[in-house]
């Protein structure tokens, strides 16, 4: 399999401890690697080398969850059309948090964190559903949701990059402030959306698949391309992986950091439209704790909390795993409390497994762990 090529090293651990460089045994490896020609990289190689392997682990987790579903409710899983419908339910459940998580993944890879995403979704949703905004129609509502999300993200970015606040503090403050503003605007009321186009976003299906799932797919694809195929993505990894090296290579670290928070805000704006459509209303308390869901999904998806490493696919799988668990509990008629406990356990397990994998991999390479800054 071609995804083995980036991790070809573990196959020859015996050579590596010899560190005297001029007689580097790796020359042989270089020779073999060269013979299989450049350009034979699989499409997900771009997703960060070791990431591909991790994503397989997440897929395996997902399979295990489905198997548990089959074992606990064989009656439902015997019905093919129910299975299809249930899959769509899971994806629909994942769609809003999924969009938020894509933005979050960028911020975390870039070495930051955004605690304000849930609050931004709420503020953008409330702003888009005021009577005044609704009078401009669906276009006005979508425009204002996206603009509000972007603007709040820009403020976050300014505070972090140019105000030099610690990301945790800056976005924590924004989390509190944005919810406050949302409550102020909505007068603590639930604002009902009367716009049939907006409300239709949640109920429309194309080719039997909900529009929300298409939106998620579009954001994920765009995020993947942005991270793996553009200079923006490359800068994100550089800025998060080693900000000093990035700076000395001529990358404008501060400006890029600003962009990352702006991107996260924009994703929140999109999520606000989706969530408002689902609920046909918006209120200051909506999207509660989305920041935690998004961070948890990114982390179990393999994004390094200290920055410099992470994948969009991993984050997506993280979100889907969480919504599958929710679904699993729902079809078995179990309480949400038990569900939250399991979620907590999964987060810990995922991170533990990753650490063990990473440690054994580096030990395998005969070196102690490189700095993660």
């Amino acid at each position: 399999m071609s995804e083995m090529s980036p991790t070809a090293t573990p196959e020859r651990p015996a050579d590596l401890p010899a560190q005297s460089p001029p007689v580097d045994p790796a020359e042989t490896a270089a020779a073999t690697a060269k013979s299989d020609a450049p350009g034979r990289l699989s499409w997900w190689r771009g997703d960060g080398g070791e990431g591909a392997k991790r994503n397989l682990g997440l897929l395996a987790t997902l399979v295990v969850l489905v198997v548990i579903g089959i074992l606990t409710r064989p009656d439902l899983y015997g019905n093919a059309s129910w299975v299809w419908g249930n899959t769509l339910t899971i994806l629909k459940l994942a769609s809003v948090v999924g969009v938020v998580t894509v933005g979050m993944t960028f911020v975390i890879i870039g070495g930051g964190i955004d605690l304000s995403v849930g609050a931004i979704v709420a503020l953008a949703g409330v702003w888009a559903t005021t009577v005044a905004t609704q009078s401009y129609g669906a276009g006005g509502m979508i425009f204002s949701a996206l603009t509000v999300g972007l603007a709040v993200g820009v403020v976050n970015g300014l505070l972090v990059s140019y105000g030099r606040l610690v990301p945790f503090i800056a976005t924590l403050a924004m989390m509190v402030a944005a919810r406050g503003l949302a409550a102020e605007i909505s007068d603590k009321q639930t604002q009902v959306s009367n716009n049939t186009f907006i409300n239709g976003i949640a109920s429309t299906e194309l080719l039997g698949i909900p529009l929300l799932v298409y939106i998620l797919a579009a954001v994920v694809v765009a995020g993947w391309v942005l991270l793996n195929r553009t200079t923006f993505g490359r800068r994100t990894v550089a800025v998060g992986g080693n900000p000093e090296a990035a700076r000395l290579a001529g990358i404008n670290v501060r400006r890029h950091t600003l962009y990352l928070y702006a991107l996260s805000g924009l994703c929140c704006g999109i999520a606000a439209v989706m969530l408002t459509a689902q609920a046909t209303s918006a209120q200051a308390a909506m999207a509660n704790l989305y920041e935690l869901d998004a961070i948890a999904a990114a982390i179990i998806g393999g994004t390094l909390l200290s920055g410099g490493r992470g994948t969009i696919i991993g984050s997506l799988l993280g979100v889907v795993i969480f919504s599958t668990i929710t679904n699993l509990f729902a079809i078995n008629g179990l309480s949400t409390e038990a569900q939250n406990m399991v979620k907590g356990g999964i987060i810990v397990a995922a991170v533990l497994i990753q650490q063990v994998q990473f440690r054994s991999l580096t030990q395998f390479l005969g070196r102690n762990r490189a700095t993660t800054t």
């Binding site: 090529s5 980036p6 090293t9 590596l16 560190q19 005297s20 460089p21 001029p22 580097d24 790796a26 020359e27 490896a29 270089a30 020779a31 690697a33 060269k34 450049p38 350009g39 990289l41 771009g46 080398g49 195929r229 553009t230 200079t231 923006f232 993505g233 490359r234 990894v237 550089a238 992986g241 080693n242 000093e244 090296a245 990035a246 700076r247 000395l248 290579a249 001529g250 990358i251 404008n252 410099g308 490493r309 390479l365 070196r367 102690n368 490189a370 700095t371 800054t373």
Partner: protein
């Protein structure tokens, strides 16, 4: 000799310090007689090279490797009770690694350690502490928001039934502070409220609370003001008078002269000289062992520098207070200009300021006649500058990323179309660079962290061979690089110059500067003290210039 403006850090020496010989005897001996009153041991009589104490620590052939670097490559060290044993060496010579081995942070790969006569392995910092080895790091590892007493007894507070016996702890702290000659520091004071010198005393109190027999001090004078250093020395003498051994690390030779008994010099992870008498060893010997020719340098033939090369870089009156002052220099196209100077001479800071990574307080940097925006790396890079910084791993590399992505870190934008990266092209360009630099391993998709130090350096230099770099700033390009790769790097640097690239090279290895550069600037204490074509200078002249003005002038040469 050139301007010998001020003698730093000579407590008690006064203005007479200039004449060397009397000052050398004067300064230390006054404080020494004071100290003789306080303590019993007549240290004054003990000649430096025959310290009477038993050997407490002996290291034999200690080796420690990290990925790509042999940080320690056969270290010998012998420390006796009651002596101040100085460790001398450039940055990267292995001093920090050695400290970490002694304090149980790192475990050596091979070699023997004997502690108080018994074979010992310090498995953890706690084990080293228990054995009686305490380390005082440069960044004092104190908890700012705990009191003096709480810091002194951190982790081993006197307890009864799980409750800290605060009274007892305060009493013992007061007693230890008294032993250190600082009874005036209140044990209940928050550490945050103390000045740097006071914090250092607390660190030492912590060491004594562990009943340390060996205290390692990593550049303790670096955080102190000049007049506080005398006090530090007084404390050190108190400690040694009580039979405690001190390993003292400093870049300042004059301090070693004053406080040290014996000196061990490290270079490239090896002991190049052991147990030299601290006071009588000629400075030139010490410096030569730190910076000199421990390996054969192989320099490519020097082509005649093209005198007609256009002026590329012009620096005028560049100043950053406390780092360097009023530095002016030029680099022409195709010229290699070397800056020689010891650590702390301001050379690295100068380079980073020219590059825009630090903002100058005064002065201008011009590239090809155009003044660069100060404090902007982006502007410098756009003007055609590139830099290989001093600390490869922390300042230049994305260790987890592939070689080619590190090579193209500064240029990937150029190969992109409409913001979309062209990794195929990047790999091809990186392949080209890897070929021309003879990078090993050759596969540019491998993570850069699997490379040796020399090859990592090639990646950093190679980064600037892409694009249109006209001026390359190299800060210690061969640190931690083995002999073979060194020769290759020299070749690369020469070839670059031959292609018309200007090179500004900083190195603490004098032979390297002389062998590689066309023109040499010697820096000392933030100023350029000499500028000359490399052919007009020899190693000894440069060493003298680099060291001049410090107290060692008084030492027998």
């Amino acid at each position: 000799m050139t301007a010998r403006d001020d003698d730093p850090v000579v407590p008690g020496a006064g203005p007479a310090g200039d004449t060397g010989e009397p000052a050398d005897r004067d300064g230390p001996s006054t404080s020494r007689s004071e100290e003789a009153v306080v303590t019993r041991t007549p240290l004054v009589e003990a000649p430096a090279d025959t310290v009477a104490g038993e050997v407490v620590l002996r290291l034999t052939d200690v080796v420690k490797t990290f990925p790509g670097v042999r940080a320690l490559d056969g270290v010998q060290l012998e420390v006796r009770a009651g002596e101040v044993h100085c460790l001398l060496g450039q940055n990267g010579a292995g001093k920090s690694t050695l400290i970490k081995v002694l304090s149980g942070v790192h475990r050596p790969d091979s070699g023997e350690a004997h502690w108080r006569g018994e074979p010992a392995a310090f498995a953890s910092p706690q084990a080293a502490m228990r054995a009686g080895i305490a380390t005082i790091y440069q960044e004092l590892d104190l908890v700012e928001d705990l009191s003096v007493a709480e810091n002194a007894f951190l982790g081993h507070e006197p307890r009864r039934f799980g409750f800290v016996r605060r009274g007892r702890m305060a009493r013992r702290t007061r007693e230890i502070l008294g032993r250190l000659g600082h009874p005036e520091i209140p044990p209940g004071r928050m550490v945050r409220a103390l000045p740097a010198a006071g914090k250092q005393v607390v660190s030492m109190a912590r060491a004594l609370s562990h009943e340390a027999r060996l205290i390692i001090m990593d550049e303790p004078s670096a955080v102190l003001a000049h007049d506080e250093v005398g006090n530090l020395f007084r404390i050190i003498r108190e400690l040694t008078a009580q039979g405690i051994a001190v390993i003292y690390i400093s870049h300042r030779l004059e301090e070693i002269r004053e406080i040290g008994d014996r000196v061990t010099v490290l270079k490239d992870g090896r002991t190049t000289a052991a147990n030299l008498p601290a006071r009588d060893t000629p400075t030139r010997d010490l410096v030569a062992r730190m910076t000199g020719r421990s390996i054969e340098y192989v320099f490519p033939d020097r082509p005649a520098a093209d005198p007609a090369g256009a002026e590329l870089l012009r620096v005028d009156g560049l100043t950053r207070s406390g780092e360097f002052a009023d530095v002016s220099l030029t680099v022409r196209a195709g010229e290699i200009v070397g800056i020689a100077g010891l650590v702390g001479s301001g050379r690295s800071e100068l380079l980073e300021t020219i590059y825009g990574a630090r903002r100058a307080q005064a002065g201008t940097v011009r590239m090809g006649g155009r003044t660069l925006r100060p404090g902007s790396v982006g502007a410098a890079v756009r003007a055609g500058m590139g830099m290989a910084p001093e600390e490869r791993k922390s300042q230049a590399l994305l260790l987890g990323e592939s070689i080619y992505r590190n090579v193209t870190l500064a240029t990937f934008g150029r190969y992109a179309r409409l913001g979309f990266t062209d990794t195929g092209r990047e790999r091809a360009e990186a392949d080209r660079i890897a070929d021309s630099l003879e990078l090993r391993p050759r596969d540019v998709r491998r993570p850069v962290r699997t490379l040796s130090g020399g090859n990592q350096q090639k990646v950093v230099v190679g980064r600037w061979l892409l694009g249109d770099t006209r001026l390359l700033l190299l800060d210690e390009p061969t640190r931690g690089v083995d002999v073979g790769a060194r020769a290759e790097l020299y070749q690369v640097i020469r070839q670059l110059a031959a292609r018309g690239v200007g090179v500004l090279l900083v190195s603490s290895e004098v032979p390297e500067v002389l062998g590689l550069a066309d023109r040499v600037l010697v820096m000392r204490e933030g100023r350029v003290v000499r500028e000359a074509p490399a052919g007009e200078l020899d190693e000894n002249t440069v060493l003298d210039l680099v060291m001049a003005g410090s107290l060692m002038e008084g030492a027998p040469a």
